[in-house]
């Protein structure tokens, strides 16, 4: 960690903010990744004609980093969790974000921007619980 990662963090964060702004201004939609992805695996939640933009957003979400990797020569993704832990974590993240109506993007970026009390509370809860989980798994177990 050095000063540069803070600047690239701020810059990347602003790009995320601009992307969410475009989605709201042009399409009238909240950029919540769990909602966008979850809508693709939820037959009951699908409302007419909304599948194509969802698929396109998800495709873009993969294509953006692919372009970045091509430009800078690689993506730093270091996974320390074991496969069984990843599978359990994936289930919890998938089910939990749908039950709680959002994740880091929908609640953390878009919901807080709308000053939604639900989003502010949800963000505080998932950050607090995640920090506690890391504390227990790294320092106690």
């Amino acid at each position: 960690m050095d000063g540069f990662t803070l600047i690239s963090g701020l810059l990347g964060g602003m790009m995320i903010g601009v992307a969410a702004t475009l989605m709201l201004l042009l399409n009238g939609r909240i950029s919540g990744i769990s909602g966008i992805v979850g809508g693709l695996v939820s037959p009951g939640a699908r409302k007419g004609g909304e599948a194509a933009p969802r698929v396109a957003f998800v495709a873009g979400l993969v294509l953006g980093p692919l372009g970045y990797a091509a430009a800078v020569g690689g993506l730093p993704v270091g996974i320390e969790a074991s496969l069984p832990v990843l599978v359990i974590a994936g289930l919890l993240v998938g089910f939990g974000t749908r039950l709680g109506s959002g994740c880091t993007s929908g609640h953390g970026v878009c919901g807080i921007a709308r000053l939604s009390p639900r989003s502010i509370v949800a963000t505080a809860v998932f950050m607090g619980v995640a920090a506690l989980t890391v504390f227990v798994s790294r320092h106690l177990v």
Binding site: I16, N27, F57, G64, E80, L91, F126
Partner: protein
């Protein structure tokens, strides 16, 4: 069609932002969550950078009668701080802390083609499908409870 192009472009910019910010790397995320360890504040700068844009921009945009390419804004309508919100956020927090992945960076990290990423995303989709199966499917006639939902038919009492 226009909405699809907007979504593709926004998704790509969102993904690029995740890559530039370093948030696709679970080590950086866990470095932020590990407040008792060698704390890495980058994630706060990423959220701060995003909110620097969305806080003022959303305020201005939501004054408009409608978005540019759609008939209306599709905004969340719930406002209760209920058990589902808190419980869901807590379950998500456990999964996030265990893996360092939340949904956006996990999907974006599919770009690496790494097997653990594929496993996490497949598992996340399964978790979302389980939720949809319990809560999104239309209820069978007269059914209300968990057992009815599980069996897909009314239960004799």
């Amino acid at each position: 069609m226009t909405k699809t192009i907007v979504a593709l472009f926004s998704g790509a910019l969102f993904g690029l932002g995740l890559a530039v910010s370093g948030m696709m790397d679970p080590r950086k995320v866990i470095g932020f969550l590990d407040v008792a360890g060698d704390w890495d504040p980058t994630l706060a700068f990423v959220m701060g950078g995003a909110l620097l844009v969305t806080l003022p921009a959303f305020r201005l945009i939501l004054r408009r009668p409608r978005p540019i390419f759609a008939d209306g804004f599709a905004l969340p309508t719930k406002n209760a701080l209920d058990r589902r919100l808190i419980g869901g956020a807590a379950l998500f927090g456990v999964g996030w802390g265990l893996s360092g992945f939340c949904p956006g960076p996990a999907v974006a990290a599919l770009a690496t083609g790494l097997t653990p990423v594929l496993a996490f995303v497949a598992s996340m989709l399964a978790g979302m499908a389980v939720y949809a199966w319990f809560f999104d499917l239309p209820r069978p006639q007269g059914a209300v409870g968990f057992r009815e939902r599980l069996l897909g038919r009314p239960v004799e009492r």
